[in-house]
Structures are given as C-alpha cells and as structure tokens.
Assembly symmetry: C2
Homo-oligomer: 461 residues x 2
C-alpha cells in the first residue's frame, strides 16, 4: 500500500508529491492529461523560441515559488517595465509612464498621463479608495466572517460599482482585476463584491505579482518536478473513483486499475473534481460548492518578433485600457531583448466570444489589434500563437476558479475541508496567492503537511 | 452496432429510448445510479404509504406528460387546493383564501386576505406588473435575442428589484419563483433578470403547473418505462467517455465496457456531463457552459398523518410566506384524504444550510415548523422523512439547473447544440417547461427526433 496518491500533476500536485517524498513517503501521481504541468506549460515554437502557454510570472512576495526556482537552479530575471506603456481610452491610444508607487497610480500608470480629466481621475481614485477599505476589512482566511459578509456576498461587484454611480473610468480598474488580475478570468457581474475584495486581500496586485520571469519559461519548473518523480508519475491516467474506509483508500483510474493508499491529495481545479465518484459520497455542501466554482475564461496570446522593437522607441510593451480583444499585453522577452516576445491576454466574456471564431478569424483579429497598438511591425510577427484554456478538457479555463455570488457565505466551510483521507490541493484552495503559481505551491505544501500530520496521528495510535 | 445509446435513465432518457424503440431502433440505456428514474422517484415508507421523493405534479398544460400517463394507464387526480391556506408574514400566520384568477392574486392568495396594507399590496402588484412586461418580451427559444438581453443578463434579479426600490412584500413573489418555482432552487442574487423572466416565459406559474397528482406516485411512470426496457437498461453503469468518428460512436462505462452505436443521447443534468471525457473534446463554449450551469438546491420533506386533518378545519395544507425552513407546504394526500400527506420544500440557501445539520437537528427543525404552521397534530406525524437532492452524487441538486449571470448572452448558442453524434436531453434543454417532468419528456422526444432525422439523413446518403 502506498502512503499517498496525488491526483493531478499540475504544479500543486507535483509540489505535494515532492514534499511527501522528501518526508520518506511512498507516493504515486496520477495525471489525466498526456503531460504533467497543468496550467504551467511551455512550448517550443516552430521559430525555435520557447514560450509559456500558461502562467509565466513570479512576484516580489512569492517566496515559495522563488525558493523552488532556486532549488531547481533555474534563472530568474526582472520582467521589463522600463519606459512607457499604452493606455487606450475612447478610441485613443496614449503613451503613458508607469507610476513609481502603486498606491499613486491608476492601473499602473501615472494618472496625469492618462487621457482623463482631473474630475475623472479624482472620481476614479475615490472609488478605488472605497474598494481598498473593503479589501482591508475582508477576513483573508474565512471571508464569510468578514464584516457585512452576507450583504457583500449577495451583491455583484458590478452592482456595487453602479450603486456608487462609478464612471466608466472608475469601473475599469476593478473590471481589470476581475478579468485579468491573477485571481481572475471573470466579469464583475459574475462574482460578489466579497469575492473581488477577497482576491485583493489574499493576492494583492500592489505586491507586484508580475515581477519576474524564468529564462527558458516557467514550464521548466513542472518539467523538472515531473522528471524527478520518474516512474511514480503516471500520465494519460484519468482517475474516476476514490473509495475509502477504515483500512485505507482506493483510487481507480479509467483503465480499471486500483491504487491502494493511506491518503489521497486531490490537486485538480474544482470543476474537475466533479469527474470523481467518491465512496462515501461527498457531503451536500461540497457537491454544491464544486458546481458553483467554475473556471475563469482566458486565452493567452504570444507574438514573437526578431527583437523587442518597442523598446527602441521607449515603449515597454504594456497595454491596458479599452480594446476589442487584448485585455493586457506585456513584454515577455528575455533580458537581451532578442527575440521580442509580447504576451497578450483575452479574458472573461471576450475569451468566450473569441473561442467561437475559426482560427483564420482569430488570427486576423489579433494581428489587427497588435498593429493598432504597437504599429505595423507588431502586425508582422515571426510567429503568432494563442492558447484557449477553455478548450482544455482537463482544466476547463484559467487563470483560476471563481465562486458564484452567495457562495462564500453559504459554502465557505466546505472550501478546504478534507473528506476523510482526501485532502484538497490546487491553487484554488490556497489561503495566499490563489490563482498564482505561489498559491499552487502553498496549497500543495499544505496538503502534504495535512497528510503527514494525519499519518503521524494514526501511527501514534 | 446499436442505433443509439442513451446516457441517463431519468424521465428524459427513458422517454428518448421509448421513442427510438417505437421507431424500430436498437437502443441501450446506461444509468450510473442503481435505479432508474433520476429526479422521478417514489419510496414506500415504513408506514406503508408511498410518496414521491422528487417531482410529483403535472400541470394543466403538461400535454405530453398527460399523454404519457394515459398511455401507461395510470390514474390522475386533482391536487387539493379547496379552502384556505396559510400566509406567514412578520411573524404572523394568517389563513387566507386562494384567488380564483391567477392574475388577480399575490402568491396564489386573495391579496385582501394577506396581512399587508393597501399600499403594500398596490406596490407589490406594480412590481409584479413590471416583471410580467419583461416576461412577455423574452424570446423563449433564444433568450439571448430578447430586447435588452445583455443589460438584463448582467444584472441579477435581486439587483433589479433593489433598483425598483421594491419592498420586502413586493420582492417575495419573485424570490419565491426563484427558490421554489419549478425552474428554481436558486436565490435571486445568483441569476440574471433575463433568466428569471425566461423561466416564467417558458414555464409560467400562471398555467398552474401543480395541478394534478398520480395515485401511487409519479415515480411509477419511470418505473414502468424502465421495466419496458428490460435488459436494454443497464443500471449501476456510469459512463466515463464518449468517442466518435465517421464510423460511429463508442460509449465507455467505468467497468471498461465499450458500447458501439450510431448516435448518443446524453440525458443528464448539465453538471453531470462534466464527468464525461469526449473525443473529440467539446468546444470551449460547451466546456464553459457546463461549469456555469449548476443545479439548484432543494430538500423535499414528506410528513404523513392518519388523515388530512387540516381539511376538517377548512384548511388546504398550503403554506407560503416567511418561515425558517419550509418555502412551501402542500397537501399531497390521495383524494379520500387518508392518509394525510404534507409535502414541503426547503429551497436554495436554506437547503444548503439544512444540509449541514445532523439528522436529529433536521428532524427537530421540521417538527417545530410543521407544528407552528398547522398546529400540534402537525408536529406528530406517523412518519416524517426528507430527501436532500444535493446529497445525490448523480444528480447534484434539484429541481433544475440555473445559469450564472451573463451566461445566456455569452453561451446561449451552446445550450442545445449537438456535438456531432451526441444530442442532449434532460429537462434543462427543454424549450418549454424546463425543470418539470413535461420539460424532461419534451427534451427526450426532441432528442429522439434529432437522432432519427440524423440517421434518416445518413441512410439516404
């Protein structure tokens, strides 16, 4: 009998397995997809450049991710933000400097550089101030115990903004956090104000979570962790059932194989847990929670150029504001600026709409938008690819899952509660940095600790 | 090779199979649970009385359900509504007459009988009038094409009511439709106004959908249909994968058995479809839709007495209004009033909270509430049972599924679209009476027709 089976070989499951093995446990990792990594995956393009199809950044306070990268002897470098970015508003793309102090900026920019009137800027800052007050009041560990939790959980973030009479300019920063903030992939009418405030309480944009990149791509982290597991990692191996009793647990894969173990770490996105047949069944609150916690929608775009030509003109590749498709572009080139890589993100409702077009239409939309942002050269990349995470059956979307309005205050207690020998991992159960690599690592480590504590207890008996 | 495999032996799947067999097709029905019926299930209690754990009623315009009941030679009788019901408001339970004309009532009652001021009644009627105007404007077949569809789909029903400044009394009828209307099981902050209006456009409460009952229980319908299938129905047989190519489809069950066929009818609630591995995979819009379409929450309560004693005092067993748990009670006794059966419903958030209590607490809550409504005799039933549909892993809730705000207008096109050889059934894809038995039958018949048309086309080639 194994000490533990880990279901899911994304970053969180891989870290849980690594931690358990380090503690001397026998572990098997079962992954449904043909490769490990989940939302941490790189691809070598036809032109020879390697890019991350999923997450790519680490942040200044991502201490566990930094430690892991160092342990794996991978090279980090600062993400490039020098120079001016582009802010599009009312059909106009304006070059603007980034603010030095996050608290003094509007969507990272010097407010005075944006095509907004002084009145608009003041109103946007006032709305942001109200939002920050809520963020400070949220209980990060148990958001359902925050002041006014029920009221804040039964009003959508969009209705909250409308209640303030917020202008379009004042709404944009919060819309941006929902759509393409690292805990996002949703529109503000899909979540409660409590949830939006919680995401910034536990994964604050002001801590610069897009601070650094990995030479060769973040996907290497998952590749190395997977390689370390050797034959203990089984890919192409979907789990269909988890049964448990006093004697142990039995994890059944869709080829009928049964894996006996003492503990199970389920390191899948919440929507994927619905594939599993539990015996004894999950309690009603977890059955309900898994249905009310869908993944966000996200398409990642990568455009490769000979060099990061926008830097030559003092640009930094960063784009925000109004646009047809791309919620954000960011310079993701290596430090030497050759090749030039722009990463772009199509988020939430736009990602769903984008997913219904055919590839030729999708390509035409992206080239036109890149050109409108960074000029004719941007419309002629060496290579242009995009990856719709909503097309991945074993993931179901990106960056992370969001709860329906009312879910935190009715089902919060089910969020992290183990089911007997089953403990939950995956970035969605992290208390800090959910939706990020950092959250995946912390959740994986916490799950491993819970398994060890559980087994320590049963050994002492 | 079979002509068709039907996945799911709830009413919709059973009807689809029956229709296909009647057309001369070879059909196999695969059901995950140990018994057929889905949300149409009766149970013989210890005291010998048979009750429906799930749906029980047919309605006055449920023509397909009526035809099926007649074909099976089952006996219908009118649900008992004579006499006065109870309306609880501000801590007071007031006996009140039911209105003769639905359009002239407030939650079925004569408005003048309710403990509301004339001003409150007028305001509640005005709000209801605004709601009816929306209902009339909704496109029942394609709600995303209704006037103002995006605006109505991105505001929750609760925010819409707050925008009108609706009083608690004026909010109650719409809250009731959401929680315990036949397309419900949700709170108004969980759905868009477009969705709430759509439910009443396609499944109108004014057509009296709780009109008649079946002697011996509605569950008999599913039992008879299942029995007719004989060995073509496989229970305890969860499907894990559906693959298809030009030659046909292959449906794999969790014992590794592969069922070859020309067409597949997936007759499962939307959340359950997430268990299936499709090859080729579903498109992104259907992957997203299935995540954004959870089941409502519902606990059905059944209290059995020697006789329907409330009728002796001119009561009809109907309760609505404010209460701790039971959203609705209704007389579900046979015509001779012996035994007396009260059916009760705990809906939406209250159902989730109820599901976290232990059985002794649950029983105490129910007995206290029954007694507070219908007197001391109501607190001493011969037998009291309750069934939490949220505890059923193969269903996930009741009565039916509801879409997140914004889902109709972004993913509506994915709602009923077949995936190659796979067509969808289940009451959730009905164009008329979704959430009801009638919708399940119509969706099952429509799926069978789609299979026949598809196969007719391929034969002519």
């Amino acid at each position: 009998m194994l000490d533990a089976v880990v279901v899911g070989a994304g970053l969180s499951g891989l870290v849980a397995a690594r931690r358990l093995r380090a503690a001397g446990q026998t572990v098997r990792v079962l992954e449904a997809a043909d490769t490990a990594g989940g939302r941490m995956r790189r691809r070598r393009l036809d032109c020879g450049v390697t890019v991350d199809l999923g997450g790519q950044w680490g942040g200044d306070t991502h201490t566990r991710f930094e430690a892991l990268v160092n342990a794996l002897d991978l090279e980090r470098f600062r993400s490039f933000y020098d120079g001016e970015g582009l802010f599009r508003w009312r059909g106009e793309a304006r070059q603007a400097r980034l603010g030095a102090d996050f608290d003094d900026t509007l969507l990272f920019f010097e407010p005075g550089d944006l095509p907004l009137s002084a009145g608009e800027r003041a109103e946007a800052r006032a709305v942001e101030q109200r939002f920050r007050q809520l963020v400070e009041q949220v209980d990060p560990d148990e958001p359902w115990r925050s002041p006014d939790a029920v009221a804040l959980d039964t009003i959508t973030a969009s209705a909250w903004l409308q209640g303030l009479g917020a202008s379009a300019a004042a709404q944009l920063p919060l819309q941006w956090l929902g759509r393409v903030g690292g805990s996002g992939g949703f529109e503000l009418h899909q979540v409660s104000m409590l949830h939006l405030a919680w995401t910034q309480a536990v994964a604050p944009q002001r801590e610069a979570p897009e601070g650094w990149l990995l030479r060769g791509g973040a996907g290497q982290v998952a590749e190395r962790l997977a390689a370390d597991l050797g034959p203990d990692l089984h890919t192409g191996c979907p789990v269909v059932a988890i049964a448990q009793d006093d004697g142990g647990a039995e994890v059944t894969t869709d080829d009928g194989h049964r894996h006996r173990c003492r503990s199970v770490v389920v390191a899948m996105p919440p929507n994927q847990r619905q594939r599993l047949r539990f015996d004894p069944p999950l309690p009603p609150d977890q059955i309900a929670l898994h249905q009310r916690w869908p993944m966000g929608a996200m398409v990642k775009v990568l455009a490769v150029y000979e060099r990061a030509f926008w830097r030559d003109d003092g640009g930094n590749g960063l784009t925000l504001g109004e646009r047809a498709w791309l919620e954000l572009t960011a310079d993701s080139s290596p430090p030497e600026a050759e090749p030039g890589v722009l990463a772009g993100f199509i988020a939430a409702d736009r990602a769903l709409a984008f997913g219904t077009m055919n590839p030729a239409e999708q390509r035409a939309c992206l080239l036109a938008e890149l050109e409108s942002l960074w000029g004719p050269r941007a419309g002629r990349p060496i290579e242009l690819i995009w990856h719709d995470w909503g097309s991945e059956p074993w993931t179901g979307g990106a960056f992370t899952a969001f709860p329906l309005p009312g879910t935190w205050t009715t089902l919060g207690d089910a969020w992290r509660r183990p089911h007997g020998r089953v403990v939950w991992a995956g970035t969605e159960v992290a208390r800090r940095w959910p939706g990020y690599f950092e959250g995946a690592i912390r959740a994986g480590e916490a799950a491993a600790e819970a398994v060890l504590v559980r087994q320590g207890r049963s050994m002492r008996r």
